[in-house]
Symmetry: C2
Subunit: 545 residues, 2 copies
């Protein structure tokens, strides 16, 4: 292209998109907003900025510099937020370690990421001490503690975080460098195989943050993160940077609450006592919060919740609405930084009834600004966005991981034709609303048609005697695949024909085609689940072959 191009490399004018720029404004605000840890410690933004500088000096003193990797094992805390900034701001890579991994997986990820320094909370000391001898790249440790008494450890450490920070200077001249420098890395866990590392650059995180501000400002008539927002994450900070929200909240100088370890009653208490107005979480924990003892004494009507990770059911959204909680859905994945789409209750939708609004809130949102999203048929042809055609969600955006860390070959599963393939099957409506229908590997391809296993499960679960259900495709010589259902009965006297009869009504109402009714239905005592409680369709299929 013969466009007129600016001399972008001219250093005099260059202004790279670096994470330090997200702090440029925030450090200036000496207003009443603070960063709160467990309701016990409070830091003004100026103190926070000082602590980021102290941490940067501490890391430098310990020999950490550009290109090194710093791993963190901590609960959600102000310390973690300080690491979100200080580590990439000195040019190092922040590895947010998934503290729920097995010791074997933890070891694998820390060696694979080539961690140089490990910041470890006292609650995880014994875990790390167990694997210490097998950590091949770690040179040093820094201990984190919630108490005045310093932790002791057999790890060869350089002291305790607060102690070191208190000795460090409150100024640090953070350098400029290439905005495509890697800032963070973390691991996704599949049902089989080793965890895979994804990584994001400064440019990607800054653009994801800027774009998220627009998305949250437009999610509703009142922005989810406006000046009067009190923010508390309920998605762990090790998990896709808590969906990137701490960067948004800090850039905007908002009141922030970090809850430490996730204990439902404790989280609800913080929502009540700290006046939290916005959080994000997965449906499972959302349900746990609403069912907690503390929920009964809590007025949730100022609290809004962004749900992601798994679909928000209408039932849960209704229950939340009864408590005055407005729910929103975000869609994305670890490989997408993560946000791709978010609920958008615009003027038109806000005028509809609550029940109609909920029908929008449980969808997977509208692609956010800058996100180019299409649905493709199996041959790679874009399908119409008419709310009916369903295909694999493929995306382009400035913040997609380019490949898996140290495994460039695996990136090929992710990228094809210049688009990232999410592995999700969805429809996109005329007005941009995305509805996820299934994982592409769980879709049942029968006689040239696609049947959504999720939809079939949803319809079967409406039978009053069904306790739980899983539907998978099994190979079929004539049709390619056929649906097969595993059902746990509520009381034991359920029969397969009752389910088929139950499904006939949805054929009559046009919701499914006749060929979607499974010939084979197994009544079982238990359905295989993964370690995080999801139905393990891989295992089910393996058992059937």
């Amino acid at each position: 292209m013969n466009t007129k191009i600016l001399p972008s490399s001219d250093e005099a004018y260059a202004y790279p998109l670096l994470i330090k720029r997200l702090l440029t404004s925030a450090q200036r605000f000496e207003n009443e907003n603070t960063i709160v840890y467990r309701g016990e410690q409070r830091f003004s933004y100026r103190e926070f900025n000082d602590r980021v500088c102290r941490l940067a000096n501490t890391l430098s003193d310990m020999g950490i510099g550009p290109g090194d990797t710093v791993a963190v094992l901590d609960w959600d805390s102000h310390r973690y937020l300080e690491c979100f900034f200080a580590v990439p701001m000195i040019g190092a890579v922040l590895h947010t370690v998934n503290i729920r991994l097995s010791p074997e997986q933890l070891l694998y990820t820390m060696n694979h990421a080539e961690d140089d320094l490990v910041l470890v909370h006292e609650d995880f000391l014994s875990l790390v001490e167990t694997i210490q001898g097998q950590l091949t790249t770690v040179k040093n440790y820094l201990l984190l503690s919630d108490h005045d008494t310093k932790p002791t450890s057999t790890l060869p450490h350089s002291g305790e975080y607060e102690e070191r920070l208190s000795q460090a200077a409150t100024e640090f001249d953070f350098p400029d460098f290439d905005e495509n420098s890697v800032a963070t890395t973390f691991y996704t866990t599949g049902t089989t195989g080793n965890p895979k590392g994804v990584y994001f650059s400064h440019r990607q995180l800054v653009l994801h943050t800027l774009n998220m501000i627009g998305a949250l400002a437009n999610a509703d008539l009142k922005p989810l993160m406006g000046s009067d927002c009190v923010y508390m994450p309920i998605t762990p900070m090790f998990h896709v940077h808590a969906w990137g929200m701490p960067y948004v909240a800090t850039m905007l100088g908002l009141q922030q609450v970090y809850p430490g370890r996730y204990v439902p009653d404790e989280l609800v208490r913080l929502i009540r006592e700290e006046g939290v107005t916005f959080s994000h979480c997965v449906p499972t924990i959302f349900q746990m919060l609403l069912n907690s003892d503390e929920a009964n004494k809590t007025d949730f009507s100022n609290w809004k919740a962004l749900i992601g990770g798994s679909p928000l059911t209408t039932g849960l959204a209704n229950k939340a609405a009864e408590l005055g909680i407005q729910t929103y859905t975000g869609y994305g994945m670890s490989e997408t930084c993560p946000l791709l789409s978010v609920t958008r209750i615009d003027r038109r939708i806000s005028q509809q009834s609550e029940q109609q609004q909920i029908s929008y809130r449980v969808k997977a949102g509208v692609p956010t600004n800058l996100v180019d999203m299409q649905i493709w048929d199996p041959t790679g042809k874009p399908l119409p966005q008419d709310g009916t055609a369903s295909g694999e969600v493929v995306v382009r955006a400035p913040w997609l991981t380019q490949s898996y860390l140290h495994e460039p070959g695996k990136g090929d599963e992710l990228w094809s034709g210049g688009w990232l393939h999410t592995g999700d099957v969805a429809t996109i409506s005329d007005d941009g609303y995305v509805e996820i229908r299934d994982r592409i590997k769980d879709v049942i391809k029968t006689g040239g048609e696609w049947i959504s296993s999720l939809e079939l499960e949803s319809l079967i679960s409406r039978h009053p005697q069904v306790a739980s259900v899983a539907v998978v495709g099994v190979p079929d010589q004539r049709w390619g695949e056929r649906p097969h259902a595993l059902i746990v009965s509520q009381n034991g006297d359920l029969e397969a024909d009752m389910i088929r009869l139950h499904l006939e009504q949805f054929v009559e109402s046009g919701q499914i085609n006749k060929w979607a009714i499974p010939e084979t239905i197994d009544l079982v005592n238990d359905i295989p689940k993964t370690s995080v409680g999801k139905i393990d369709k891989k295992r089910i299929r393996a058992q059937l072959v």
Copy 2:
């Protein structure tokens, strides 16, 4: 810096920040929001997107492609908005021509920008016909009309805009290219010399737009451009892209009203009839709107106004507040794209009295996210941001013009030490609020101290017999410079000593130092003004030497 760097040049993942991305979301929304022209024509976002494609096809058919320059002379219209997108989206440069320039200046800018194609509204046909013979680079014209009858012209044109668009296809495959490609250019006018061209890249405009969304979302507890905003510019689209707001409004898919020619009564009628909730303008036109005949029949209580270009006075902000209008101030200049800072009424300020809030609203705002702003003393040393120290405002941001078009030498006046020098003198308070004190060339440097000419004018103007006043510095052998005042008396019997006596009270109250009182005060009939009505201090100084 030895950071880990992503292979950003890898085309498979590259996602340049191009203006077309601002349309990615908007084109998807088929909601009730429309783009309105003068209350007469209404286009849905889908129609708008079709028209952008039609225009791109029309331009291509006329031989316009990457690197070419397309000039537009039009009132604020949907057509102009279409040019904001289609011209840069095909890789060409949009020259937004200042239709208020003299024919000589117009000719100068159009030759200097090397315009290839000119889109000209029928109201400016005779103007362009006059200079046509001297336009050295223009190859073709396209006529714009607000009527069904096609305009006629002696210009060698390729037809009329609507006619051409109606014949063009509604699809265009906008290419990807380098995000540092120049997207727009326009000219700033000084009091002397030729206009100077500034230019902005796709990356700069996209980042300015994203950042502005954050700034407007945080300007108040309710965002200035939320989902229910109805936006109408009252800063011409040729002037720094109407402060970039049309890009914001379009990206967010908001209701937009384009008013055509600026006639105060007509603008107020549109605010009322179209339910406009947000506009931006200079103080002069803001005052004209509030004083218009239509103002008396208009309820302004849903309308918010962002004021810039010149300081918003407390008197005007008070008058607006009486009418229920909340005012906000933005600060920037043509060379800064333009937004650097904007009012931020956060939770703390929103709890204060209306009068206290106005004291914040009339300041020059708080630097927006991503803007690094400092104040420097004359030696280039950063001064404390304590609300007292005053120095030249210098900035870094991703959207600053790199130099003047085709005059790289002139950029040296703008840039020094890696910072853009605004030529404004200001204080910045502890909580980030900027207060502009003077233009640096108007500051009076006396005995090693700085006296703000604006402050002195403000104090002198409080004398009841002063109609208008200008203060400039005149060379002085002993002190370097001394203040000199020109005063127009209200009724003729004012004397210089009365002014000096009047100023003594401010010495006693500590507002000014004794040496700020001018020894020389001229009572005059008239104060020299520039063509746009500003006090012409250059001319005053020239007359005094």
